[in-house]
């Protein structure tokens, strides 16, 4: 049954037994890790879904506003209006460790603190629709960043869960049964060897006694 060839020696047996204990312990730990990762993942993915719905709706609304704005303004005016943005957004990234998966946390900073700096144009030549379009996008920005954070975390966790699940399954269905088989094979082989040694000794003893006392001749 032992698919992998092992030396049926006592040393190999001890080694395998130790390995089996480690494997079982590792299996238990990995299973716990997988369960906890899964719990976190499900929470996150639900949040991700809700956020995505919200952001997609928000962007659709903003896009409607932009289309409206475009319809009353010429392309040149629009280009000029948005050519030189006053505001600038930068990100600080922290990482948070979730079960040894590093997931990002973003903090965004705007270059100027004035909320009105998103309007990079004088109001004389642009339509009011452009203002509301820009405003609706700007209101959406925190949610969009949260979405980015959430979605990246989901992707990273999903990859880690897949890896962990494979390891758990490999241990559970391949490594551990194989080791148990090997151990059984070695114990049986060793027992068999011991029995045969004992039989041989008994036989030798019989033969020696026979030589010394000549039982067979006396019986005749």
């Amino acid at each position: 049954m032992a698919t992998v060839h092992v030396n049926p020696t006592r040393m190999e047996l001890t080694r395998l037994k130790k390995k089996l204990v480690t494997a079982i312990r590792g299996h238990k730990l990995l299973k716990d890790k997988r369960d906890e990762l899964m719990r976190r993942f499900l929470d996150l993915v639900r949040e991700n879904k809700a956020l995505r719905e919200k952001v997609e709706q928000g962007i659709a609304a903003a896009n409607r506003n932009f289309v409206l704005a475009r319809s009353v303004m010429s392309d040149e005016v629009l280009n000029v209006a948005l050519m030189a943005p006053k505001q600038e957004v930068t990100l600080e990234m922290e990482t948070q460790n979730v079960m040894s998966v590093e997931i990002p946390k973003y903090h965004y900073k705007t270059r100027t603190s004035d909320a009105n700096d998103i309007y990079s144009y004088g109001y004389a030549f642009t339509s009011g629709d452009l203002d509301s379009a820009v405003k609706s996008l700007s209101d959406l920005l925190p949610d969009m960043l949260r979405l980015a954070e959430c979605e990246k975390a989901c992707q990273l966790l999903a990859a880690e869960i897949e890896k962990t699940r494979r390891r758990v399954n490999a241990l559970e269905h391949v490594m551990i049964p194989e080791m148990q088989d090997s151990i059984r094979y070695i114990t049986m082989k060793l027992d068999e060897n011991e029995r045969s040694t004992q039989i041989r000794l008994m036989k030798v003893k019989d033969m020696m006694l026979e030589q010394a006392h000549h039982y067979k001749e006396k019986m005749q």
Partner: protein
């Protein structure tokens, strides 16, 4: 210090310029793939990309899935929501759980 980029067809992305995000209008997939790769290596932590463009760049986008930086996030373009963004979330669920348990109800509803 990281930055945020927005990629997509010009009409879908120019509004983000006003907010101070870096806008990279791109229509042609081959050119966009190059831009995406360049952005990913030059300090952009979040790259928003329209669903239409992401569709054409599928392998490029997938390459960054398992990496911590950058996060490539799909947003609907001006031509409407194609559902590709949600499909990406669903893909994560399938990868992690083995089958889709979050979006099940919706699939049944849409059938």
């Amino acid at each position: 210090m990281y930055k945020i980029a927005v990629m997509g067809d010009r009409d879908s992305v120019y509004g983000f310029a006003a907010l101070g995000l870096d806008v990279y209008p791109a229509a042609e997939p081959a050119q966009a793939a190059k831009t995406l790769r360049r952005l990913a290596e030059s300090g952009y932590a979040v790259i928003y990309i329209t669903e239409a463009l992401a569709d054409a760049l599928e392998p490029e986008v997938d390459r960054y899935r398992a990496q911590r930086v950058p996060a490539i996030i799909l947003i609907p373009g001006v031509s409407g929501n194609t559902g590709a963004g949600m499909a990406h979330v669903r893909k994560s669920v399938e990868q992690a759980v083995g089958s889709d348990i979050i979006f099940n109800d919706e699939n049944e509803k849409s059938r």
